[in-house]
Amino acid sequence: MAIAKKAFVWALFAAGGTVTAFVFPVLILLFVLVSAGMVPENMTREGVLMFAGYWFGKLVLFAVLVLSLWHAAHRMRVVCHDFGIRADAGVARILYLLATIATVITAYLLIRAS
């Protein structure tokens, strides 16, 4: 059970790392464009709702956000360990709880988006 759980967390971490490596530069670039006043044409309220309202958009957003969140949680656990926090079980519980909450909120937002 413990090994299966570890493998599951590791698989999420690896998948999330790959997703962030591919997607986050362009995601951040979109925020660069917005804050530079060059808002991309489809990044209107209607455009965002259309993308998030369509099953394909929902699926992409859910996969990217959830895998990335679990990747971040697992990596933060490593950071805590490297910074000398040795209460790993507690750290893991808090971080994975946060990731679970964020997963539920993401699912809620995307189910409602239309």
Binding site: T20, L27, F31, V34, P40, R45, L49, S68, L69
Partner: protein, 107 residues
């Protein structure tokens, strides 16, 4: 260590994207314009540019460099050269980025 710290940026941009989504979904259309206007501050621009460079160097490029070790690929009897695997990642990265920008309406 710097590579590990990219997880803070990942969490940050996940939450920012969720906030953007919630702003768009709000019954009041004003919330979306407020979000966009709130982003158009020099401090945000500086932060996003810094995040873009930091993340690309310490996560994307670092992750691609490790890819041949993390998932060595064998086709039949032939082991795919590490350089080919890394190059394939860069090509895929370019495609993902261009498709995303196209969906966002940049071009």
């Amino acid at each position: 260590m710097l590579r590990e710290l990219t997880c803070l940026l990942v969490a940050f941009y996940c939450v920012l994207t969720m906030i953007a989504l919630a702003a768009a979904m709000d019954a009041d259309p004003q919330r979306w314009s407020e979000f966009i206007l709130g982003q158009q501050k020099p401090a945000w621009l500086v932060f996003h540019v810094f995040a873009l460079v930091f993340f690309t160097v310490y996560q994307t490029i670092a992750w691609f460099r490790l890819a041949p070790k993390a998932m060595p690929l064998q086709l039949g009897d032939k082991v795919v050269a590490p350089g080919t695997i890394v190059a394939a990642h860069y090509v895929a990265w370019g495609v993902v980025s261009l498709v995303t920008l196209w969906i966002a309406g940049v071009f």
